[in-house]
């Protein structure tokens, strides 16, 4: 087993991997950018090294700096987390060249899955079902028109190197195709430095369901059940659950076997995820393979009782999988809420800044994987994922109820978060009935964002307003150091019990 592992990441996932290492008796090496000196992963690691300025391109994406830290610290392996360098085959290769074990698949598997068209070609050979379309890039919009005619509209244009919805266009008719092709190409070029675009039959309102696989370096591959990931915004997942309410045992086995076939066709090792689109008739199509640990891996951990990061590390150290497919059982239901720093009242704009108050939930059935703490200044330079709140229950309803309870206990001030969005989703009748697809969240948000109170009867709102008024007065009386009124702020050491009066007066004199 490794004695020391470098974690080439930040935020909640770096903390999660550090915890796994500590549990396994492995020393940890953190890296951090200038704005992350006070980040939780730096506090929790055994060693920590600065790797440059805030911009990821100058720090967390700098392979040379990270490998240099690995060398200096004597780390034997690197866990890339997700994002950043996690799906970068060049980095995996550079690690191998430097004699450091990359905890993930081989550069070869990563490269094959990195291009959607090459992945399609490979999977076509292996007989994996995927959305009808071209498995090569389109040479011209005319070729696209022919293919679209064959597939039938609507069709989807997609960047071969794509991800995150960039270089993607839904095309409803022949008239639109030419312009959309040009737009997709140019967006693909500017986003990925590669203009290759291919075409697929568009699945209307699909579900996005993915299958977790795990493969050791001795030829053993297993699947660990699916995750329902249809609740997305801007192609970013927001809430995930396991199992999917629409997948039954038979479908799970079929998807699992296809996922294993995909992994084996790519000579895949370590943890990976095979993504499927599922249409209204429950037919599923291979979409792509994510060659890394997913953000949403905890829901699989809770339903299988396994620790995926422990297993990733064991596999990378050359161990065999400690169980076979028949030893994997799915029990209960788990749902993950991704707590983002964004403002639900203001178009979900990102909301970095200092966390002034933080009350965090715990208790039965609640797992919290967090990268934040009270007093931390959330930097504006990285993605807005602050923490993940995962609820487990013996069934879906109990998982939902436990999450609602935990969200009620969760409170973050200083920055805005999307906690209220989850309260809306979990209380929504369609969600409760599991009627979700990739368009669900946009529809829910489009309904408007009523304050929670507006659904309450008028009388109750008035009662709550009275409570708020009384509370405002009691705060002022009991905690006069914190200021009152508009001239807010944290209240310096000079604050006195009569401070609010001065504030009141200076306002009056303006």
């Amino acid at each position: 087993m490794f004695k020391k592992i470098l974690i080439a990441n930040r935020g909640e996932i770096a903390v999660r991997v550090i915890r796994a290492c500590r549990e396994m008796g492995i020393a940890t090496v953190a890296v951090y950018s200038d704005v992350d000196r006070g980040a939780l992963h730096v506090r929790k690691s055994d060693e920590a090294y600065p790797i440059g300025p805030a911009a990821a391109a100058e720090s967390y994406l700098r392979m040379d700096k990270i490998l240099d830290v690995a060398k200096r610290s004597g780390a034997e392996a690197i866990h890339p987390g997700y994002g950043f360098l996690s799906e970068n085959a060049k980095f995996a290769q550079a690690c191998a060249d430097a004699g450091v074990k990359f905890i993930g698949p081989t550069p070869h598997s990563m490269k094959m899955m990195g291009s959607k068209t090459s992945a399609r070609q490979q999977m076509e050979k292996a007989g994996v079902p995927f959305v009808p379309g071209t498995s090569r890039g389109l040479v011209s919009s005319e070729e696209g028109e022919e293919a679209a005619e064959r597939l039938g509209y609507p069709v989807m244009l997609k960047a071969a190197a794509g991800g995150g919805g960039k270089g993607m266009r839904l095309v409803h008719s022949r008239q639109e195709l030419h312009a959309s092709f040009a737009a997709a190409q140019s967006e693909a070029q500017s986003s990925f430095g590669d203009s290759e675009v291919y075409i697929e039959k568009a699945i209307v309102n699909p579900r996005h369901i993915e299958m977790q696989v795990l493969a050791d370096e001795h030829g053993n591959t297993v699947w660990l059940g699916e995750r329902e990931c249809s609740i997305q915004r801007r192609h970013q997942k927001v809430l995930e659950e396991a199992p999917s309410p629409m997948v039954d045992s038979d479908m799970r086995w079929r998807m699992g076997e296809v996922a294993v076939k995909v992994a084996q066709a790519a000579s895949y090792t370590n943890a990976g995820t095979v993504e499927f689109l599922v249409d209204q008739q429950k037919k599923f199509y291979f979409l792509e393979m994510n060659t890394r640990l997913q953000v949403e891996h905890p829901v699989t951990e809770l339903t299988t009782g396994l620790d995926l990061v422990h297993l990733q590390i064991r596999i990378a150290a050359g161990e065999k999988l400690p169980f076979t497919q028949s030893g994997v059982g799915i029990r209960g239901h788990a749902i993950e809420c991704r707590i983002y720093a964004e403002d639900p009242d203001n178009n979900y704009f990102p909301s970095p800044g200092k966390i002034t108050v933080l009350l965090q939930p715990s208790g039965p059935g609640i797992r919290r994987d967090s990268g934040m703490y009270e007093g931390w200044n959330v930097p504006m330079d990285y993605d807005p994922l602050l923490a993940k709140l995962i609820g487990y229950g013996s069934d879906r309803q109990q998982a939902i109820m436990r999450l609602e309870r935990a969200l009620y206990e969760y409170f973050v001030a200083g920055i805005k978060t999307n906690i209220s969005l989850f309260q809306r989703i979990l209380g929504d009748a369609d969600f409760r009935a599991a009627k979700v697809d990739t368009g669900y969240l946009d529809r829910l948000i489009a309904k408007g964002n009523p304050a929670v109170v507006s659904s309450a009867p008028e009388r109750e709102i008035e009662a709550m307003e009275s409570i708020a008024a009384i509370a405002a007065g009691m705060f002022a009386v009991l905690d006069p150091a914190a200021s009152v009124g508009k001239n807010g702020g944290a209240g310096g050491p000079g604050s006195t019990p009569s401070n609010w009066r001065q504030n009141g007066r200076s306002e009056a004199l303006r």
Binding site: P350, V357, G414, M464, A468, A476
Partner: protein, 169 residues
């Protein structure tokens, strides 16, 4: 102690007169003349445990440089506390709708591009500039229909929340 409390934000807020007086146990309170006995403690900073006729409330305080919000359960209320002895009458914000309106940066970030030129006409809700923060590009929109009188933001500029990006008239 006597306070004037505005609950519900500057625009549609309701003003309440609140009198608080320490009692033998808890506080005697009058809200708009209505007497109510309350018991209150601050178990930790920015959290108030309030008991009113047996009902228990955990109220959380969210204070920024400009605003004070209180959370009663999952409901959030804008609150303003004033000294009623001050003679100042409340400013109305209604007038703002007519004059020039500032387009403010809602978060720290970097300007990635301008979507309109100075003196161009814009609709309410039309994008003015794009601010990047947390790997997301965010279109900052015009608060009203009018003419972009001035653009104070330039591509590449770092901005802080509240910075004026443009003025629409």
């Amino acid at each position: 102690m006597v306070y004037e409390v505005i609950v519900g934000g500057k625009a549609g807020g309701k003003a309440h007169r609140l009198e608080l007086e320490k009692a033998a146990a808890g506080w005697e309170c009058r809200l708009d003349g209505q007497p109510v006995h309350i018991d209150a403690v601050i178990p930790r900073r920015d959290v108030l445990s309030l008991l009113v006729d047996g009902r228990a409330y955990e109220i959380k305080r969210e204070q920024t440089a400009t605003d004070l919000h209180l959370w009663v359960g999952s409901s959030r209320f804008a609150v303003e506390l004033r000294d009623p002895r001050s003679l100042r009458s409340r400013q109305t914000t209604a007038g703002d709708e007519k004059g020039p309106r500032k387009v403010l940066a809602p978060m720290p970030g970097r300007i990635v591009r301008l979507l309109v030129a100075e003196n161009s006409e814009v609709e309410a809700g039309q994008g003015i500039v794009v601010v990047e923060a947390m790997k997301m590009q965010n279109e900052i929109k015009s608060p009203k229909k009018g003419v972009v009188r001035q653009i104070l933001a330039g591509a590449g500029m770092a901005v802080n929340p509240g910075d004026v990006l443009a003025i629409v008239e």
